[in-house]
Amino acid sequence: MKPVVFLSAGALFGFLLSQARATDYAAIHGMFKLTDLHLFGVIGVAIATAAAGLALLRRGASTALNGERINVSPKPYHKAVFAGGLVFGVGWALSGACPGTALAQLGEGKLYALATVSGVVLGTWLRQRLASPSVKPARAS
């Protein structure tokens, strides 16, 4: 598919993240302080909706509109998953962002997110550099 399709899909998703206030430092901080439960609501509804939609999709279609086989399968479990999750969570709280929202923040005019995005690139590079081949996550994940 053409890059413009994915660019547009990314724009739509960035719009949704912004409307969800997932790009808002105060919303993330408030979630972890348990003083603002908004994002728990967003995540809960999103998981339920995605689960229902994926279940329908599994019954209804095996081929995407572009002719490709629909390839949505569970990610493999390995022993670094939980530890990696912890590391990620620390970063999530420190920066008030995640990989997607840091980029959406840039579009909102929050130029300080350039620091976050640079950090994510560095962390990604570092892990791929240091990881032994056996636990090195595939680029497709």
Binding site: M1, F13, L54, V81, L86, P99, A104, Q128
Partner: protein, 154 residues
Amino acid sequence: METWPFWLAGLGIGAFVPLFALTTGKALGISSGYSEMCAITKPASAERWKLWFALGLPLGGLASALLGGGPSVSTSSAEMTSALGVSGAAQLLLLALGGAFIGYGARMAGGCTSGHSIVGIAQGAKSSLIATIGFMAGGFAATWIAILLAGGAQ
């Protein structure tokens, strides 16, 4: 900025997942797009779409801000200053450090809040549930430690 209620945003994000799969055949995932940024000088792989997707995200943030009468450009986060008392260069350093943890942790865990917490849990994947418990535990721990270091809860 006026934004959507939680249920509408949740419905939108949730519906995006199957619609994206139906349109492109692919599972939504963002953190691996950063791997593509790191591999920008290499020949395009089958994962290059993730780079385009990632580059689309700021455009959506801009559209959302325009809808809210913005965007207003800022070079520091006032919310972060009021939460932790850090500003200026120290704040940017903390953001970059947080970002590095995000990138490193996402590659260890094999995904982030979109690929694991939304798409993965929606499939009932054990790995995604465990990763997400880790995301939350790490976030709670870091937040409360940061608050204590910054001089107590406000």
